[in-house]
């Protein structure tokens, strides 16, 4: 997986709450059996309203509101965001499955307080070429005016992202434990293994 450490990137706003994964990548584009190629259909027709404007070309940070990524579990949503060029999503809150899916793809979802998000939307609006610095090791987002906003992240997820660690490889280090657990379960609840 591609590691994530520090990102200094152009910010594109999507000023809506409850952006669902059907809106991020509609189902007519889900039929591919590959992980790539979803970028051109990101947000479908919405794109021309917000993030697709010329001033946001090349943006790597998406700024949004609350409950981003709700609905379907489709990982095609983070694949499309990634394919389009986004590396971090800054919002007030995220839906669980989407949030989780981001980490599997080297995409960092950053949760900030509502007041900070409000201020960022206002700044993006009036500042052409508005950029943010997302510093994962120090868990801070830094505005161009020097204002520093701290964010929380699980220690395990942070470690995996910084080093680009592969989950499966990590989990298989515990293969013996998994096997032992399975054997115990097979003895206690044999009907699960029939």
């Amino acid at each position: 997986m591609r590691p994530f450490t520090i990102l200094d990137g152009l910010v594109a706003p999507l000023d809506r709450a409850n952006v669902d994964t059907d809106a991020i990548i509609p189902k007519q584009f889900l039929k591919s059996i590959k992980r790539s190629g979803f970028g051109p259909n990101l947000f479908d027709e919405w794109r021309y309203l917000d993030v697709g404007q010329p001033r946001y070309q090349g943006a790597q940070i998406l700024l949004t509101r609350s409950n981003f990524g709700c609905g379907s579990s489709r990982e095609h949503a983070p694949w499309a965001l990634d394919d389009f060029g986004f590396r971090a999503i800054v919002g007030e809150s995220f839906a669980d499955i989407f949030f989780n899916n981001c980490f599997k793809n080297g995409l960092l979802p950053v949760v900030l307080p509502a007041a900070e998000i409000d201020a960022l939307f206002a700044l993006v609006e009036v500042t052409p070429g508005f950029r943010l610095r997302v510093d994962l090791p120090n868990q801070v987002v830094v505005r161009p005016d020097g204002h520093v906003i701290a964010f929380d992240i699980d220690a395990f997820r942070k470690e995996c992202l910084i080093h680009g660690l592969d989950d499966i490889g990590l989990s298989l280090r515990h293969a013996d434990k998994i096997r032992a657990f399975e054997e115990r379960r097979r003895a206690e609840q044999p009907w699960l293994f029939a």
Binding site: D20, I33, S66, E75, S171, L172, P190
Partner: protein, 468 residues
Amino acid sequence: MPHTLYDKLWASHVVHEEPDGTALVYIDRHLVHEVTSPQAFEGLRMAARRPWRERSIVATADHNTPTTHWDRGIEDPISRQQVETLDANIREFGALAYFPFRDGRQGIVHVIGPEQGATLPGMTVVCGDSHTSTHGAFACLAQGIGTSEVEHVLATQCLLQKKSRNMLVEVAGALQEGVSAKDIALAVIGRIGTAGGTGYAIEYGGEAIRALSMEGRMTLCNMAIEAGARCGLVGADEVTVDYVRGRPFAPRGEMWEQAVSYWKTLNSDEGAAFDQVVRLDACAIEPQVTWGTSPEMVTSIGGVVPDPAREPDPVRREGMARALRYMGLAPGTPMCEIPIDKVFIGSCTNSRIEDLRAAAMVVEGRRVADNVRQALVVPGSGLVKRQAEEEGLDQVFRAAGFEWREPGCSMCLAMNADRLEPGERCASTSNRNFEGRQGAGGRTHLVSPQMAAAAAIVGRFADVRALL
């Protein structure tokens, strides 16, 4: 110390825990469908890995499959490729059971899991599909996962995650006639919002939940994800055990007795602590209809389309205004004056035999209104379809002017040919009214099966209680 059902399910499946609480959780049942699995199998292949335990896998093709003319196969070449890719992956990697396109037991993955007894109480169940929460009706820890997690479960038989918090939704009293589990689900979402359950496992309890059939409990847990919760739960009781008994993959003989005595422990202990409790009164729940583009944008059939101007929060206000523009609705319009173009009875939320019986009860002896262009009934599985036909329900629907289709996800997400055209308004028993969900530009209103049937007959949303 008393424990919640979720606490018990979690504790009994943790294999390993990191210092920050991230845990490896053992997975008993892995349900697989064609849309979210190809990249996972491809990842496995590229890393030269095999499934850890292929007999945990139960697979079917449901999202892309057509609901008419099965003799012609799948005409859309890209849909066909996705389904054929699943066929090939199961051939290569194996499974406990596979119900491919045109098998008599094929159907929506969340209908056939329970129907086959492949979903059993106390299991951890995952699927690359957010509506996996459905299986929580069986006191299962059932969660939707992404494709990378599908690959992770294939390779390790475990899911990497942190524990959620506990929420109890307690519904006291008895439901009125004409009000169903779907109405409870929508009323709960109307109350707590689509992010209200984020970070929680929601257990549904109380008299009204105990009185629900397994079909009703599945409908309720199915929509836990629409409230933001990855899993919904209902404790096990006689209703659960009676449903499971005799199913193809259910235990038998001595093992059955052993299993049942364990399943009886799958309830929250008296006095268990929940991080949040939401209480509803069943008899106060009216038939629900959504008016917007999120399941939380919901009101009762006696209600009106709300006015964004009266919403104080600016982000919410703009969201409401945008939804009303998309839906083509004016504030203040009574819900029962909104005419519809199409009706869809189906989806993993409401396509089980009881749903079809309930809808047929309303339809019997009546005709679909002239302004309704299409009314579809899409059974959840081949077995549901057969059972309904044995009961003559197909004849009731056909006589009224409904189309009786082959099983699949169909117009819930319109990956096959069943869809809304731009601007068409649909009374739908599915779970999501997002923009474009049932077809680009389509306008979805979520309702119960009986409310969808009532809308089909009257030609606009109507209070089904007047038709019973």
